[in-house]
Amino acid sequence: MCAAARTEDLMADKRRTLAEVVATIPDGSRLALGGNTLHRAPAAAVHELVRQGKRGLELVKTAGAYDVDLLCGVGAASIVSAGFVGYETVFGLAPMYRRAVEAGAVEAREHACYTIIAGLRAASQGVPFMPLNGLQGSDLIGLRGFASVRDPYSEQDVVVVPAIVPDVALIHVQEADAEGDARIWGSTFEDALMARAAKRVILTAERIVDRAALAAEPERTSIPGFLVDAVVEAPRGAWPTSCAGLYQYDEPFLADLMAVATDSERLARFVDERILQAVPVTA
């Protein structure tokens, strides 16, 4: 009993406030964003990036929507490395991303989703690049400058994608313990891979649970705490995107955002009133 209590004391408590943990992210960082399109985006962390006025961020994601779009809309992003950016059939093209790219304020580094995955895999495996089968005939090879190498065994050429090493992975999960062990309900998308590729991992969690709750079914923990630097309790932290098992994406809110997205003044007011003031600074 006494020994157990001491062990608990020695375990790293990685719980932080959103404000303090986002303050550790420098301008110009390369951020991997968890989730996919309208689902389980790390929105609470994104809102805090906006609140702190970050600049020059590179965003890495296979398919982004609100998170990528908003960070482009407020001028926080400079580079978007993604396979797809849009609100799917629900709202179509991402207006803030589109406007920023067309104005030259944001560089769209278009990937195929698989080349993002390949780059993250290379990073996670500690190798400088990853060969892949795909892209034959695509202008993306030239646009991205993807090289080919000769397979020394078969003498065939193969396209190689450079490692993508995020400075920080921002991932929203349903449950995590204080040490950062995290359980994602439903689809994990690229999040488990991002947690293995990034230099640092910051989690937001719908709720912090006891370690014992996770230990009952460790096979459901897709991100082990030893990979995680900080965990923030953030209920509804994926809002306005969905969080599997808990809530759907907030279509009326997103419709309101779409209505002001390309008007700088109205967007600034919307971000202030409907996002920053509506969301508690630290959950």
Partner: protein
């Protein structure tokens, strides 16, 4: 869309969905990705009709789900409902890369006569006039899946163009299903396989920015069979809220 005003988006969507569903074979693997309501409906419909053992791979990873309510977003967690197994998106690309994905459904903002697609940009891709969403998985899936079926809810000369400003993806395109027709790639070129009942060969040709031959001999173009009563009943049971028409209605 240039079909006659008497044809409702719901009618066109149902025609497209059954045309897509009929192309799927029992026992094969099929994938649809982001922003793909019509392929989602088509794949789930095919499982209720001629292809009960179709293996449907979804972006969120649910395999052959049976969602009670169809989502408009095809990344939605509801695409795990009723699935007995799940994989990751990376697993699906890996499957295609090693030659084991039978059919991929892919979109295309612009399509040329050889079935190449542009999903990236209008104008200079480094400083585009219009930045498009990006090709998502298409640049990998089109050349590696055994067969690609393209669908597009617009059929006009801005969509079917003579020259693409950017080739996002090219590869094993078999069919292109539009609001007006089913096109088939034969000897590397898109040709008209059938024209939907509400359209005509003249309309299809006038709406296409490159010359289109008719598959087979002569100018006798088949009519795409309209949805049968069994197909319509299965569609209504699957999709009572009309998600099938979401793409056509969002235009």
């Amino acid at each position: 869309m240039t079909s006659s005003p008497a044809t409702s988006p719901e009618t066109v969507a149902a025609q497209m969905a059954v045309a897509l569903a009929r192309l799927l074979r029992n026992g094969e693997t099929v994938f649809f990705g982001v922003a793909s309501p019509l392929p989602m409906v088509a794949a789930l419909l095919a499982r209720r009709l001629q292809a009960p053992d179709l293996e449907i791979l979804t972006l969120p990873g649910g395999i052959s789900p049976a969602p009670g309510e169809l989502p408009v977003s095809t990344v939605d967690p509801r695409l795990l409902d009723g699935a007995a197994a799940m994989v990751t998106l990376a697993d699906i690309f890996d499957l295609s890369a090693r030659g084991r994905l039978d059919t991929a459904f892919l979109g295309g903002v612009q399509i040329d006569r050889t079935g190449r697609i542009n999903m990236s940009a209008i104008g200079d891709p480094r400083r585009p006039k219009v930045r498009l969403p990006g090709g998502a998985g298409s640049a990998v899936l089109m050349p590696t899946a055994r067969r690609t079926i393209i669908w597009r809810t617009r059929h006009d000369t801005r969509t079917f163009v003579d020259a693409l400003p950017f080739v996002t993806a090219t590869g094993n395109v078999d069919r292109v299903v539009t609001p007006l027709a089913v096109l088939r790639r034969i000897d590397g070129l898109l040709t008209v396989q059938s024209v939907h009942p509400h359209s005509s060969l003249a309309e299809v040709r006038a709406s296409t920015g490159f010359p289109l031959d008719v598959a087979g001999a002569g100018e006798d173009v088949p009519i795409t069979p309209p949805p049968s009563s069994a197909e319509l009943a299965a569609l209504r049971a699957l999709d009572p809220t009309g998600v099938v028409a979401a793409e056509l209605l969002s235009r």
